[in-house]
Subunit: 400 residues, 2 copies
């Protein structure tokens, strides 16, 4: 079989210039989150097929890269269905593995547990701009904290990280899953259809209120109820309390959301806005939800929320939890599009030799010990090209 030069579809080779940016962003992220007391943990890339296909993962379960059984366990003669062939798969997110990790290791973890994990995940999605089949996720989670201290710390951490990157032009949209449900209730829309209705609402950015209305109509909901529902969104949302008055929302939910916004605004200069149209895809959220919106993207570069019931559904252990995930690949995409330059901390020198002499090694040793980045190489035939490439990479070229 012939050797194939290009990477597998939907995956990427990362050139040194790509990795320099990725490494820089990860370094700032790690420094920031560690200052907030988050502890780095990690799970394997390979996960049990049983855990990946237990119906909690929604659409992602259709996109799994499945791994063939090995050796004697693989019986090609008697294959009836896919599950006869596979025993594991690549993780499609970091949340399923976190649930397993927590169930497996909880006695050794701090409580509350402030978890920070970065890692590749895989989804056999249709590749498109900024969407890959192998991509990195960066998740913050606080497990075991039932109060809004979790949400406050999560949002403060993420905003602090983005500020340290000098990333501007974003806002944090906040809502609460319970407000979303109360609005359905108010409009006499069926709560058991909440997921379907909210999927329509989630398309608001793309199809507008008229589009959402049409979709809800075509899904068979009462016109009167739909109009009552959509009318709610026309209210002024600048004050949560006022917005929620008509809904007869529990005071506790409103106070909680207001407190998150008030304290977080004191902690960091963040553009925090209550956005009653914010849905977030996953139905496992139980309380506050949030999302990072950036000017140039219709969608977000990260989001999260409270999911007090999720780990119980996966792993059978009841623990209140909230998380915030950064869409690392999108952040990198935007940084590149904005022409972001990595602050160069170190001097770079390239010694280009005609011939080797012992004293050059003493020289570069001294410079490397002083923290400089030093390359040493022989003069190529095309020295001009060699030199230009090094200079483009920020090296001072010294001919020796």
């Amino acid at each position: 079989m012939a050797f194939i030069k290009t990477p597998v579809k939907g995956t990427r080779d990362f050139l040194p210039k790509d990795m320099a940016l990725r490494e820089y962003v990860l370094k700032i992220m790690k420094e920031t989150y560690q200052n907030f007391g988050f502890e780095i943990m990690a799970t394997p890339c390979i996960e049990h097929i049983e855990n990946l296909t237990n119906k909690q993962g929604g659409e992602n379960e259709k996109l799994i890269f499945k791994i063939l059984k090995r050796g004697e366990k693989l019986d090609l003669e008697n294959v009836k269905e896919q599950n006869d062939l596979v025993d594991s798969g690549l993780r499609y997110d970091l949340t399923v593995p976190l649930s397993r990790f927590y169930a497996n290791n909880m006695n050794e973890l701090n409580s509350p547990f402030r978890a920070f994990q970065t890692g590749f995940v895989w989804r056999a999605d249709r590749p498109q701009k900024g969407r890959f089949r192998e991509f990195m996720q960066c998740d913050l989670d606080i497990l075991g904290e039932k109060t809004n201290l979790a949400e406050i710390e999560l949002i403060t951490s993420v905003v602090t990280f983005l500020k340290k990157l000098d990333f501007e032009g974003f806002k944090i949209k906040i809502n609460d899953r319970r407000i979303l449900l109360k609005m359905l209730e108010y409009a006499h829309l069926p709560l058991e259809k909440a997921d379907q209705i909210l999927i329509s609402l989630d398309k608001l950015d793309k199809i507008g209120f008229e589009g959402v209305r049409e979709e809800l109509l075509s899904n068979g909901y009462e016109e009167e109820n739909i109009d009552a529902y959509l009318k709610l969104f026309k209210q002024d949302a600048s004050n949560i309390k006022t917005f929620c008055e008509t809904l007869k929302m529990e005071q506790e939910v409103v106070d909680n959301l207001e407190e998150i916004m008030r304290i977080t605004s004191q902690n960091v200069e963040a553009n925090l806005v209550f956005d009653p149209t914010l849905v977030r895809g996953m139905s496992y959220y139980t309380g506050p939800i949030f999302e990072i919106g950036v000017e140039e993207l219709n969608s977000s570069i990260g989001g999260g929320g409270r999911y007090d019931k999720m780990i119980e559904k996966y792993a059978g252990i009841s623990v209140p939890a909230a998380g915030f995930s950064i869409g690392f690949e999108r952040l990198i995409l935007i940084l590149n599009e904005r022409g972001f330059q990595i602050p160069e901390a170190k001097e770079k020198i390239a010694y280009i030799l005609k011939e080797k002499e012992d004293k050059i090694f003493a020289q570069i040793k001294k410079e490397r010990e002083a923290g400089k980045i030093v390359k040493i190489a022989y003069r190529n035939k095309n020295f001009k090209f060699q030199k230009e490439k090094l200079e483009a990479d920020g090296y001072k070229v010294i001919e020796w």
Copy 2:
């Protein structure tokens, strides 16, 4: 299907204390290798099955985690052999992907190209102490450098890294594949059987000269030749030149090896020894080979050598190359066994609240900005346990 709490066989959950050490070692490694002008690059974890099974990978090709085709491409009805089912697999090393990467991107890379990559690789091996199915490799390679500048820089970089970790009790063993072959020639052993004979020699540490002799005898080589061969190793190896005199080794090979040892010893305080019994497993080496031996391990924690023909065999592009790979998991194992403590750079404070007050947030903000690691949490029912766990993690606990 029930949720499984433990990780897939041969893979691991990494607790915060595990990750703290891994992250620290990687940080020191990155800092060091970057100072030597190595550029971080990365390849996907998923590789084309064609590239993984082209017979260059030896035994590793039997250990591949293969990935099932997806969607319409998977035709369960007409399965005849495994290859009808799979189109890709998890990489079993970083070398095959490096060859593909170089073939795919060479026009955008510096020449010579100093590559540094870390990443997980997968082998469906029998798990045992210090050997996993998902494990990290850390590879340095210099592509396009035909002189021993490559070997000198590689060994100097790796030794500098280990010294920065305060890692002691290791030596760098050096040999040359051409000396290994010349010794066979001298003893009239068949060069076309070199791989088989060297596999026997490689067991010297475990089975001794008598064991090697028996194995060679049972493999059908002439007793007289075997004895002539093994007698060579009884010579004094403290001087390469003297050792090689009987062999009529090309002067160039001897000079080259002596120069590598001389200059590297000037660069770093390293215990460099010529070891004519050093084999290194892979048959793709063409020149100098080296290995890091540590006192408490029978085997090495890393090694490498020159492989001028390998990339051509894989990817069809002729480029001289040398590499040095660290066995990351073994290094971590030894550091743990030696009781290695990470130098704590940052002060850690945990505020434990009875109730929340706004002013606590102003307080922790100031401390985090000053670079301290600050946790904030409510008092658990079992405060004593909470406090002890935090203190064991190095936190100063402040009750608020």
